[in-house]
Amino acid sequence: MNRDIRDIEDRCMYMAESHPLDEYLRQDRLPHIWCTGCGCGEILTAYIESIIELKIDPDKVAVVSGIGCIGRAAGYLKFDSFHTTHGRPIPFATGLKVANPKLDVTVISGDGDLFAIGGNHIIHAARRNIEMLIICSNNFTYGMTGGQFSPTTPVDAFTTTTPYGNCEKPFNLPDLMAAAGATYVARWTSLHVRRLKDSIKEALMRKGLRFIEVLTPCPTGFGKRNKLGSAIDTAKYYQDHMVIKHDADTREVGLEDPRADFIVGKFVDIEKETYLEAKERIRSREVKK
């Protein structure tokens, strides 16, 4: 590691030129475009750390992302990655996995991309149980386009397109995914990076469609209009109000009130025949005939 270390007495801090995770990042694109306090960077950290700890060959990792703030993740990660059109990371990842089953396919995208524009794709991918890991960064709004309301915006929340308050009920993402047939469903926040990393590690070792929702602060797009304060205030809110409850009933984990306690944890962890296994079973049955 090439590091210029200067011990400055009045600051007691060592200056460095590179970060230990830099070999997994496209450094020519850093620093990234995400706002101060955005949780997207922590998702990348957790993902890279889990790849390192599981000793997965980086050449066998494929990351697909859609449009949105977190959609830039594919550009920053130094794996085989692709930045798809709006809402279409799941069909792209499905093709990738079916064509090359050896790949570890991960979709990192946002709530608007996966559940509004790509809503149909994700429920059908879960129904087919295609082997992929989906990490959904949920910031309750469309951050990149200027803070419009999304399918996860809580009722009464103010956004640029709901200036008098939102009157639509939000999606309960873990419940939707569990009902559609996902084999692993968990929810964490960007503050619980260690737990998130452990969860990603666990999910990477499972088969089937695995879904992890990560709540991230959006101080610029959502927090400002709803008087949630800075990213630190949101993170402290996460610290004070989150309740870890593994195996909770997914029907009870909705985030309808943005100021109430909320449940995080691992909700679903089951084993089910995946799409590729079913395909192989039926193919071998036909060959025997």
């Binding site: 801090m13 060592y14 200056m15 590179s18 970060h19 997207c40 260690r194 990213a231």
Partner: protein
């Protein structure tokens, strides 16, 4: 319990107290965007905001080390919580302290 076991137990605890992990904190100055997550969520509270700012105008964190009270133990939470890949801690070698 055999005779004299207690004094050995006591000794073991004392020795453990003396051994503390020490770590150096590194900062990549121009990546910092001043979100103050590292300052706020450091379990040992060893970081504070300094008056120095970087090329983008964000105030950087600095280390306050009070020997015996506030010392970085290298848990690495700052590198986990930093969204900018700007800060990390590395454990010092045994010979250095």
């Amino acid at each position: 319990m055999a005779k004299g076991t207690m004094k050995y137990i006591g000794k073991g605890l004392e020795e453990k107290k003396e051994k503390k992990a020490h770590a150096k904190v590194y900062l990549i100055k121009d990546r910092c965007k001043g979100c103050n997550f590292c300052i706020e969520f450091c379990p040992k509270q060893v970081l504070v905001e300094s008056k120095e700012f970087n090329i983008k105008g964000y105030y950087l964190p600095k280390l306050v080390e009070i020997p015996g009270e506030k010392e970085c133990v290298g848990c690495g939470y700052c590198s986990f919580i930093c969204p900018e890949f700007a800060i990390f801690a590395e454990l010092k070698d045994e010979e250095e302290h």
